[in-house]
Each structure stands twice: as structure tokens, then as C-alpha cells.
Symmetry: C2
Subunit: 182 residues, 2 copies
């Protein structure tokens, strides 16, 4: 089984950190192989931030994601750019307040008010990417939740542990509210 993630948004939304967390949790804590990539080019200047993660139990021969199984878009600009790449039957996770995707692709559209819920709970947006990680875990079961908690505990200072766990729980709850059709 190989899962290809394309995570996209604007600078400052923590997309790259999210990609690194997902790759490290899956590999160092979850026992899978993982590759995480980001490309910067003329198109990246002033545009959407993108980071790719591939998780597999086999060797990963080509580290770039051409067609994601799971696309995350946290801005309209990112969504417009990357939605055409999604695989048939892929999962398109977007922020339902910030993104209005065209519904013309053969994909499972999952819109959740992640940004709004994070601001309501924490009065700041720093934990948004951890919340998104929780949603991804809920939707894909790609990594064991306890492995992710261990990763978060090891990577962050103790002062962040409680908020990180709460943000992860928030994402898990939001994810559980989604009707599975895949």
C-alpha cells in the first residue's frame, strides 16, 4: 500500500511542518517508509505552498507526487492549482470557510471548518496544522494515533504538549463526523 499526499496552502499555515510531522510520525514512529518533498520555483513565488509526502511499506523509488491520493488545500489559490491533479476517488480535504472548490473532479470532497474551530478553541491559528493532521489520521488511518502523539511529545517542548494533543483530538473529532464513502 502506498499513499501519496499533496498538502497545500499559503505560507504561514504550517503546511511544510505538517508534511514533516506526517512523514516523521509514519516512519520513525509508525514503522513505514516515508519521503517528504517540497519544490520551490518561479511558480512558488507569491503563490501556493505545496509539500508532498509519500508513505509506503515498500521502497519509494520516485519521491514526487504527480497525482495525490489525498489532497489538502487550505486556500482557494492552492485548491485551484492542485485539484486537477487528484487521483480518481481521491480524498480532497479543504477548509470549508476558506476554500470553495469546483466540484468537477471524480473525488471525495471533505470540507471542514478547521480554521474556525481552531481559532474558537485556541484563540490563535498555530495549531491548525496539528488539527489537519488529526483529520487526516481519522480519514485515512494511515498512522496509529498513539504513534503520532509520541512523535508530537518528542518533537515539541512540554509547554506545547497539551495544546497539541487538544488540536489533534479536535481534528480526530472533526474527521469522525465525516460520512465515509470510500
Amino acid at each position: 500500500m502506498t499513499s501519496r499526499f499533496l498538502l497545500s496552502g499559503s505560507g504561514g499555515q504550517g503546511v511544510i511542518s505538517l508534511a514533516i510531522l506526517l512523514a516523521q510520525a509514519a516512519s520513525l514512529y509508525g514503522g513505514h517508509n516515508a519521503v517528504q518533498t517540497q519544490a520551490y520555483g518561479p511558480e512558488a513565488r507569491g503563490g501556493a505552498t505545496r509539500s508532498d509526502v509519500i508513505i509506503s511499506d515498500n521502497e519509494i523509488l520516485f519521491p514526487q507526487v504527480l497525482h495525490p491520493d489525498v489532497l489538502v488545500s487550505l486556500t482557494n489559490q492552492a485548491c485551484a492549482k492542485f485539484l486537477p491533479l487528484i487521483r480518481p476517488n481521491g480524498i480532497m480535504l479543504f477548509d470549508s470557510d476558506l476554500v470553495q472548490p469546483e466540484r468537477r473532479m471524480d473525488a471525495h470532497y471533505v470540507g471542514l471548518p478547521m480554521h474556525r474551530e481552531v481559532v474558537a478553541k485556541f484563540h490563535k491559528t498555530q495549531a491548525l496544522n496539528i488539527c489537519v493532521l488529526g483529520v487526516l489520521l481519522s480519514l485515512t488511518k494511515i498512522v496509529d494515533v498513539d504513534a503520532v502523539r509520541k512523535c508530537l511529545t518528542d518533537k515539541f517542548k512540554p509547554a506545547f504538549h497539551e495544546a497539541n494533543n487538544q488540536a489533534l483530538d479536535l481534528g480526530l473529532q472533526l474527521g469522525e463526523s465525516v460520512e465515509r464513502v470510500w
Copy 2:
């Protein structure tokens, strides 16, 4: 011109952050294309941290570094693992206190006491990766120094600006002390 960097060390030395900084400075601020990758697999667990950066003015078709033009190794374990991959005439930058490389490859060996100098100046090691970045800029001229300063200013909070600039200057000075033979 395409330059391939393999940056390696142990977890906590800031190798991944260094890779991201180098790629962003080169692309978003320096006008080049850049790809930054890290792979995590069974070999990554408990072993050396590695992150690859490719900087080019052409399109980057394959994002992984098989044979680096520039290898950075901040631990002996990383050095032993990755030194065999270096290109003929490549630059092997290592910490001269922490790493004792075998001298059997056809490479330019540049050993500098970066860790010791950073600790002497800042009484902590957080700025080590910025110092390494300064050395890399000095040795390769891959990105304009002012573009890197702008990148550091935009990415970090004001409280870090002075220390970051000092660490970059320290690296630039250390790099200038090296006799160029390439």
C-alpha cells in the same frame, strides 16, 4: 548550472531546517529553482538525519540527490554513511571537532570547528545551522548573501534577527578562511 547538496547530521542539529532555509533562500529570494527532500525509512530510525537540496536555473526533473556536489556532515555516523556518495571534486564540509572523515575520496575536504565557534559565541547550539549556511554561501556563492539575510528576516521573529545575522557572519568568516582549490 545545477548544484546538489546532501546535508547530514544527527537529529536536533537543525539539518532539515538548514535544508529548508537553503532551498527557500535560493528560490524565493535568490531567483533559482530549488527542491528539498527528506527520506525516512528503516535506515533513518536511530541513524543519521539527511536532507537533500537541489538548486538550479533549469527545471529540476529528479528531486533526489544520488551524488552530491556538496556534502555536509556534522557527525561521524553521517559522514561514514554519505561520504562514499560524493561526486569527484565535490566539497566535503564537516565539523572538525565532531567528525574525522576518511580521506580516501576524490573530494575537497573542508573541516571547520563550527560547533565550537557557535558555542563560544552564543553559549548554545541553536544557531549552528545558520553558521553552516554561512559557510556554504562562502564556499559555493550559490545564493547572494543579502537574499539570505532577507529570507532570515522574513522567516524568524525579530528577537532572533541579531543572533541569526551574527551566526551567518560567523559562518561567512569561517568560510573565507578556507583556501579555495576548486
